[in-house]
């Protein structure tokens, strides 16, 4: 069942850009002619329909909504057409192996960054790790110390890598 057309009920053209005054004037004309208090008894059905339509079309927002509903009913498609996608600008798919992809870029990032500094950092971390493993082999502190050195290397060495291409 289709909803009654509020524009028709007020005798207005089906346009979303009607003004408040136009809608109000149309309703007043119909109300004056069909009010039940008239000596001839008026036209209650028409008066009720016009009042309901006026309530719907009273505001610009209401009018645009009613117009959009009518456009939908008419089968003209959505009132606002979707924005066409520009060829070549579709959102790139995020592959599940993106992390692996990032890892494969690391050698290139090292080469384009400061490889010498990174090598020095790496050597320091490796040498200290060896010293720790030599001094306290098999103790609980040994893996913790090595982990600490790896963390230090990763956190301080990041800035010696060239940024990834997307940055």
């Amino acid at each position: 069942m289709t909803a009654p057309n509020p524009f028709q009920a007020l005798g207005l053209p089906e346009r979303p850009d009607l003004t408040d005054e136009q809608v109000r004037a149309a309703w007043r004309n119909i109300a004056a002619a069909t009010h039940p208090d008239r000596p001839d008894g008026g036209d209650l059905a028409r008066y009720t329909g016009a009042s309901a339509a006026y309530a719907e079309l009273r505001t610009p927002w209401g009018r645009s909504e009613a117009y959009a509903d009518l456009a939908d009913q008419a089968g003209d498609g959505p009132a606002t057409t979707p924005i066409p996608v520009i060829p070549g600008d579709e959102p790139p798919l995020v592959p599940p192996w993106q992390l692996l992809l990032a890892l494969t870029r690391v050698p290139a990032r090292i080469r384009s960054g400061r490889p010498l500094r990174l090598a020095i950092r790496g050597l320091i971390a490796a040498a200290l790790s060896l010293v720790v493993l030599q001094l306290i082999p098999g103790t609980p502190a040994a893996p913790a110390d090595v982990l600490g050195l790896i963390l230090w290397f990763v956190l301080t060495g990041r800035k010696d890598l060239a940024p990834p291409p997307e940055r």
Binding site: R105, R109, V131, P140, A141, D145, G148, L161, A162, P163
Partner: protein, 621 residues
């Protein structure tokens, strides 16, 4: 009481006081020796912070980052000695250390206790360093009265050195940070803001309004290009993941000249690296079409582009406006080119266009204005010829990802002013147009003061705000922001994206935006050349962004003022990632659209009769 007894009493009290102090220091020293691994780390951390100008927050964060190693140690300890026995391990390791006071023995003990000693030592170093800064800056510490000044100057130097080192590192300050943030450079000093090694702004800050003030050669261009590239990269990535619209950057370089071309070239290379498909340089390589504007806006713009005085000249201004309205709003549609517009400034054309019988008033106006039309046509012919063909199309702003518009504000001010008006109008039209694809727009005006004669900066600013586009403006000084003090304040105070102040001789009005902060000031009684042990401390107000510090800023250093706080930053030179896959640059000339035909005026409703037979019929005498 005799004098001798009084002297003995006073000496006793002095010795007692010194004794307490000595005992306190001895206890601290004993604790430091006993917990020597922690002391070693704390000492190293403190020295590093002092030498590199780090804030205490840096030490706390390093301590926090070492906690995963502590957690790993606890897990390993639990695995080897489950339960309560595990808690005895550090004490045992510490006790064994005292039995082997050799280098290898000490190293072994340190390695055994490092998972605890490192975070504890760094946190302790942070606390001591924070106390030291507090004591010196409030005047409680230091030997000489000049200690706070010397300390601050030294730390400032070291903070700059550290920030420069960070800004020079290839991966420390990329064009785009995590979470869509725009890294600006290494933080020198943060006052009121939370300290981060790299100052990074959210991309949304650029999408609002931002003011940049700095003298020539202060590094303003680098900063602006970095912000543009960062905003573009962040917005493009957001658009690709469906979280926003595609970016459109419009830069107005209002000074022009050879420098502007170099800047355009740098910006273009950087934006190509950031993923832009087409960066157009106007007017050198691309054109725009002024006549694409809606007729009403075109009428207003054409009227504003011509100087039309006040007083007695107001009469001619009214005539001018009426004529433009008649020419642009003619029933056959607006003009599509400069030549078409000039052709319309002709009495015959106007009377023919409006003489369809339905526009009697307009036709009458066209007749009344006929004697002024040659003058008006001459004025517009001169103006539009000086503006050149770059505004005569074809081309729209939406065709490129970024536009770098060069206005010769230094060489030809009046022309540049008219061009600026037209370009701003085109940008506003693109922002509000419902026809094309919606775009996230940033309008950046570099040295706008060079062309702000006709359209004050505040207008541009408020216009941008109402249209929902980000506006970034730069000026060489506070005075360059506007013609009046009121206008300048309006611009600076509404910069909700923040204010960047680089080296400038008069930064006070801008630094006032950051406000003042409460500081303690201690006065000491001097005994000879040294401080005595009496004095007072009182609360004072000091600048959050110190104007003297800003006056001394070197090239590439800036102060970012936002929400009553300030961060001094060493701006990193913008460079794209060397791994960027540069897209093939689009051809520099705009693609030529289909030719459009200038609509002819409406046909005459009463064409002249071919013969008298048409009127009276063939049988007429």
């Amino acid at each position: 009481m005799s004098v001798w007894a009084w002297l003995k009493f006073v000496t006793f009290l002095w010795l007692l006081r010194k004794g307490f102090r000595l005992a306190r220091w001895l206890m601290v020293a004993a604790a430091a020796v006993a917990a020597w691994p922690v002391t070693v780390v704390a000492g190293t951390g403190y020295a590093a912070a002092w030498l590199r100008g780090w804030p205490p927050a840096r030490l706390y964060r390093t301590a926090a980052w070492s906690l995963p190693a502590t957690a790993a140690w606890l897990v390993a300890l639990e695995a080897t000695d489950p339960g309560f026995l595990a808690t005895r391990e550090p004490g045992r390791a510490w006790g064994m250390g005292w039995d082997q006071l050799t280098l290898a023995g000490l190293a072994r003990t340190f390695a055994l206790l490092a998972p605890v000693a490192v975070p504890a030592g760094l946190a302790l170093a942070g606390l001591i360093w924070a106390w030291r800064i507090y004591a010196i800056t409030t005047g409680l510490g230091g030997i000489r009265a000049s200690a706070p000044i010397a300390f601050d100057r030294r730390q400032w130097r070291r903070q700059i050195r550290t920030a420069k080192g960070l800004a020079a590192a290839p991966g420390a300050v990329p064009l785009l940070g995590r979470g869509g943030q725009i890294p600006v450079g290494g933080t020198i000093r943060a006052i009121g803001h939370r300290w981060h090694p790299v100052l990074a702004l959210p991309a949304a800050a650029c999408a609002r309004h931002m003011v940049i003030v700095g003298a020539t050669g202060s590094g303003k261009t680098n900063l602006m290009i970095r912000l543009w590239a960062g905003w573009f990269t962040a917005t493009l990535q957001a658009a690709r993941t469906g979280r926003g619209d595609r970016p459109l950057l419009v830069v107005l370089d209002c000074k022009g000249g050879r420098d502007a071309r170099r800047k355009a070239d740098r910006t273009r290379r950087l934006l190509y690296g950031a993923g832009a498909r087409r960066v157009a340089v106007w007017p050198d390589e691309a054109r725009l079409c002024l006549w694409d504007l809606p007729p009403d806006e075109l009428t207003v713009l054409l009227y504003q582009m011509i100087d039309s005085g006040t007083g007695a000249a107001a009469y001619y201004a009214d005539v001018l406006q009426a004529v433009i309205s008649l020419a642009v709003l003619a029933p056959c549609g607006p003009p599509l080119s400069t030549q078409a517009f000039l052709d319309r400034l002709n009495a015959r054309w106007l009377q023919k266009a409006w003489g369809d019988g339905r526009h009697v008033a307009e036709a009458e106006h066209a007749r009344a204005a006929a004697r002024h039309l040659p003058d008006i046509q001459l004025r517009y012919a001169t103006l539009l010829r000086r503006l050149g063909p770059a505004l005569d199309g074809p081309g729209t702003l939406a065709e490129a990802d970024a536009w770098y518009c060069i206005l010769e504000g230094t060489r030809e001010r009046s022309v540049a002013e008219a061009q600026a008006m037209a370009l701003t109008e085109l940008a506003a039209h693109t922002a509000t147009s419902l026809d094309g694809e919606p775009r996230a727009m940033l309008l950046a005006a570099d040295d706008y003061s060079a062309v702000s004669g006709r359209v004050p900066l505040s207008n541009l600013y408020e216009r941008g705000r109402s249209l929902g586009i980000g506006v970034q403006v730069s000026a060489q000084s506070w005075q360059g922001l506007g013609a009046t003090e009121d206008e300048r304040y309006r611009i600076a105070a509404t910069a909700d994206g923040g204010v960047f102040v680089l080296h400038t001789p008069h930064p006070e009005p801008l630094t006032a935006l950051a406000g003042k902060r409460r500081v303690l000031e201690t006065a000491h009684r001097l005994i000879g050349g040294a401080w005595g042990d009496e004095g007072t401390t009182r609360e004072q107000r000091a600048w959050t962004a110190d104007p003297d510090l800003i006056r001394r800023l070197a090239v590439g250093q800036a102060c970012y003022i936002h929400r009553g706080a300030a961060t001094f930053v060493q701006v990193a030179r913008p460079k794209p990632s060397p791994l960027s896959l540069l897209p093939p640059p689009a051809p520099p000339i705009a693609p030529v659209p289909e030719p459009r035909n200038e609509p002819a005026p409406a046909p005459d409703p009463w064409p002249p009769p071919a013969s008298l037979d048409d009127i009276f019929g063939p049988e007429a005498p």
